[in-house]
Amino acid sequence: MSYIDAGYAIALGVLAAYGAILWRRRQRLERAAARSGGRRAP
């Protein structure tokens, strides 16, 4: 693997992984928020 390949692979790989983590975290929280909608305090 050349330096160019390594640079592109690391940059794009890290950004793709971080984007996926953000997306999943948001989805999980959206679901949790929808569930807690019916659990509000009296």
């Binding site: 330096y3 940059a11 794009l12 890290v14 807690s36």
Partner: protein, 269 residues
């Protein structure tokens, strides 16, 4: 606490479409940058194929240093200014810092990968590299300060001050190549004469790279901001429910009115 404060409303259809559109535009623009950068643009006379790293390293640095930090610093000022103080600015600042930390780390990594074949070393204690590494440490410090337990206003105030202290490093990073003799090359596009020293398909591909990573940053910022809103409101909601459950445990069947129920049992809260 007012129960309506704990409600989490879903994204509006407009916001959903804007975020989806940003994500798709960013994906297409990054893919086009990679295609043009690796297969279409010519090699450089001096650096040969290594110049292809120019299409990712400077755009990532642009997002880290100028966009993310600009948003974080401006949001921190707007939070500290009493007339504009709003939770919106605090959430925006922490979102920009977190996304910016990832981009700053990538700036250092891609720069190091480019430095090894051109300078012969992975790292040098050069003014540009050192000031950028210091910025990464300051950003991590900001995120550490966010995790210190405190009420939301104190936490926001501390974080805003840390962001503004860290912002002093940004002009040092930018002008380091002019102020000191460094291994790092001078500005190619935003130089003192505002005269780009790159042209043709290389210039257009570099410009596309800036647009692509800017779109990607905007998409990540929107998602991260939403996470902050949801986390805060879920925490409030859970705390509210837990408090009422504790009151209910202590007061028996008349738990609907915590204050009155406690008074009826003769105990004080």
């Amino acid at each position: 606490m007012n129960p309506t404060d704990t409600e989490v409303t879903p994204w509006s259809p407009t916001a959903t479409w804007v975020v989806r559109g940003l994500g798709m535009a960013a994906a297409v623009a990054v893919a086009a940058t990679v295609w043009l950068g690796l297969w279409v643009t010519p090699p450089d006379q001096a650096q040969h194929n290594l110049v292809r790293l120019v299409y990712v390293h400077p755009p990532i640095a642009w997002v880290a240093l100028y966009l993310a930090f600009g948003v974080a610093a401006a949001s921190s000022v707007l939070w500290l200014w009493p007339r504009t103080r709003s939770r919106f600015w605090d959430r925006l600042a922490v979102s920009a810092v977190e996304v910016g930390t990832v981009f700053t780390a990538l700036t250092l990594i891609t720069g190091s990968i480019w430095g090894r074949p051109t300078w012969g070393v992975w790292w040098a204690w050069d003014a540009r590299l050192t000031s950028t590494a210091l910025l990464l440490v300051l950003l991590l410090g900001y995120l550490a300060v966010r995790r210190v337990p405190a009420d939301p206003d104190s936490r926001a105030r501390r974080s805003a001050v840390v962001a503004l202290v860290a912002a002093v490093d940004v002009p040092i990073v930018h002008f380091s190549v002019d102020w000191w003799h460094t291994l790092h090359q001078g500005a190619t596009v935003l130089n003192a004469n505002l005269s780009p020293t790159i042209h043709g398909s290389m210039a257009w591909t570099l410009l596309l790279g800036f647009v692509a990573f800017t779109l990607l940053f905007a998409w990540m910022l929107a998602i991260r901001y939403r996470i902050e809103v949801l986390s805060e409101r879920l925490l409030d909601s859970e705390l509210d429910v837990a408090l009422h459950e504790r009151w209910a445990e202590g007061t028996g069947p008349v738990a609907g009115e915590p204050g009155g129920a406690l008074a009826s049992t003769g105990r004080r809260a």
